[in-house]
């Protein structure tokens, strides 16, 4: 893909991690000869992201998500392979590149804790060379969109986690980046705040045509924002495609939830009963058999209502990782 905003080919990152056995003897031995183990944090991944695309980058802890985002932001050098963002090699720290990207990390902060966010915004204005009138316009627009007018004058230390995240986002977007790397932006936030951040990301992308790469452990974030997901585990890509195709590829079943006239009926001959709540019964059936089982249920049982669904995305992701671990 030539016009890709993010281009990654055979990207690898390895670290030499020190390791030793427990105990005094091993510790003393380590003084003379330190043993290290090579860890492949990212192991030959390739993908392209088109302009304006919003991609979910999923994986369990230690899968290589943050390492990848750091390489794409120029904070880590690649061990081998190719990474380009907006046509730039991130590690070169070209100003034109740095001024067009933003990395937002949910568990880090760019705003000084002891200063009101407004002071840190001023620093960003100087560093990102934002003309004052643009700066004021962007700042006021973001402050309004995220409803943080009362918060930006308080020292960041005194804000709640959710409030801090919102002002962090304002700080990261003052220079209107074209590419956003969002690393767990909703981590630790309550459901309402998560929703607000999701809505904001969608709105920002729509307004500015930004390309977004998002990592999150909350599938609600991914489902609300991403059409495409890349699943990474042990540094390797397991899946790259439409979110809807993920369950088709990895989950060989669907769930049928039926409201029965008599909830006591034995439905085990139709599929695996995975949940029963009064007259509401949930069955897991092989995907290929879904139509046949549904028809049988309707014909043979007193069904009041029936709903066929793909399995929840959390279950599918869990299944993907479980399959990978087994292999």
């Amino acid at each position: 893909m030539n016009d890709a905003v993010v281009h990654v080919a055979e990207l690898r990152k390895t670290f030499d991690v020190p390791e030793r056995e427990a105990g005094l003897k091993a510790a003393t031995k380590g003084l003379v000869r330190r043993k290290t183990k090579e860890v492949r944090a990212v192991d030959g991944i390739s993908f392209d992201i088109a302009p304006g695309e919003i991609v979910g980058f999923l994986g369990p802890n230690g899968a290589g998500k943050t390492t990848t985002l750091k390489m794409l932001s120029g904070l880590l050098y690649v061990s081998s392979g190719d990474a380009q963002v907006l046509g730039h090699v991130p590690s070169k720290r070209e100003r034109d590149f740095l001024r067009r990207i933003a990395l937002v990390m949910g568990n880090r902060n760019q705003l000084q804790w002891d200063l009101p966010a407004l002071d840190s915004f001023e620093l960003n204005r100087s560093i990102y060379r934002i003309p004052r009138e643009h700066f004021l316009r962007n700042r006021d627009e973001l402050v309004e969109l995220l409803e943080v007018g009362d918060l930006v004058k308080k020292p960041v230390r005194q804000l709640s986690l959710g409030e801090r995240m919102k002002v962090e986002i304002v700080g990261s977007l003052l220079h209107q980046p074209q590419v956003l790397f969002l690393d767990e932006p909703t981590i630790g936030l309550d459901v309402t705040m998560q929703k607000r951040i999701r809505e904001f990301v969608a709105e920002y992308r729509q307004r500015h045509g930004a390309t977004v790469m998002l990592t999150s452990h909350y599938m609600a974030d991914v489902e609300a924002l991403c059409e495409r997901v890349i699943v990474i585990h042990h540094g390797k890509i397991l899946f790259d495609g439409k979110l809807g195709a993920l369950s088709n590829t990895f989950a060989a079943w669907k769930t049928i939830t039926a409201a029965m006239e008599n909830g006591a009926s034995d439905l085990s001959s139709y599929g695996e009963v995975i949940h029963r709540d009064g007259d509401l019964v949930t069955l897991r059936v092989p995907k290929a058999d879904t139509a046949r089982v549904t028809a049988r249920l309707l014909a043979e049982q007193a069904v009041l209502d029936l709903n066929v669904e793909d399995p929840p995305i959390e279950d599918v992701i869990e299944l993907v990782f479980a399959q990978e671990n087994r292999s």
Binding site: K70, L75, S91, L98, L103, R108, N109, Q110, L115, S126
Partner: protein
């Protein structure tokens, strides 16, 4: 040419932003700084009292002159401490606060980033050093300095600051490559620099190998120049023996400091050391 001027201007604005942020942070902690200033005063007094102690135990010395000599050493020690602290904090403080990744991702050249740190450190350090000198010399001991030329002394300290900043840049790489203990090594560097430079004694009393190191230490020329200005009343024109080496060391140490820092940054980015701690 216009592009170059524009880039330079933008870089200076960025460095100005770093200075401004340091001002805000210092202002935020101003009462802590007052507390630290009191500690520095106490520390300086313990050193200056040594001259009185020697006299009281029967030593034959010009007490006023010795006290002034010791005071100048203690003030330069404190000044160097402030410069190194600010430069070490370029990495250490940001690592602790969790802002290090963002700072190193910002579109500001490392030279201007460090220059912003250095300029504020010099301004703040000079202010603190002046206060410290005045409080100890005039408020506490009532020292007499009939020949003192304060402006040349100030200029010598300012010129030597360029070299100190260069060395500070080299030191600030330590917390970059060693997140756990790198900051403490800055104190080792500060002490080592001053011990060979005649901080409280003439360089001539040192072993020969230390005297050789003293010739390449900017602190040697800074201490000599300041003492000549305050004790002997030397003017700037008579101080080329100090100013010239300071300028030469400054011209060498700044690019060397930047080079060392850039190598440290590359190492940190290769080994994944650019992350928060604490």
């Amino acid at each position: 040419m216009r592009a170059l001027v524009s880039t330079m201007r933008a870089e200076l604005v960025g460095a100005g932003g770093v200075v401004e942020r340091n001002y805000y942070l210092t202002k935020r902690y101003i009462w802590w700084d007052v507390a630290w200033f009191l500690w520095t005063v106490a520390n300086t007094l313990t050193i200056v009292f040594i001259a009185k102690g020697i006299e009281a135990s029967g030593g034959n010395l010009d007490v006023n002159r010795t006290m002034t000599t010791l005071l100048i050493g203690a003030v330069v020690w404190a000044y160097l401490g402030i410069l190194f602290e600010f430069l070490m904090e370029t990495v250490a403080w940001e690592r602790w606060e969790g802002t290090i990744e963002y700072t190193f991702m910002a579109p500001l050249s490392r030279a201007m980033h460090l220059a912003g740190q250095g300029v504020f450190a010099i301004a703040y350090g000079l202010l603190r050093a002046t206060f410290l000198f005045c409080v100890c010399a005039f408020l506490f001991f009532d020292l007499t300095m009939p020949n003192a030329q304060f402006f040349p002394a100030f200029v010598v300290l300012l010129v030597s600051s360029v070299s100190f900043i260069g060395i500070g840049m080299m030191m600030s790489v330590l917390p970059l490559i060693s997140p756990e203990k790198g900051t403490q090594l800055g104190f080792v560097a500060q002490g080592t620099l001053l011990v060979v430079s005649g901080v409280y004694y003439p360089v001539e009393v040192l072993p020969q190998w230390m005297q050789w190191i003293a010739t390449i230490s900017p602190a040697t020329y800074a201490l000599d120049g300041i003492r000549e200005a305050i004790l002997e009343g030397q003017g700037l024109t008579a101080m080329w023996d100090e100013l010239l080496p300071l300028m030469i060391i400054g011209v060498v140490s700044i690019p060397l400091g930047l080079w060392v820092f850039s190598r440290g940054e590359q190492y940190a980015k290769k080994h994944g050391k650019l992350k928060r701690s604490g």
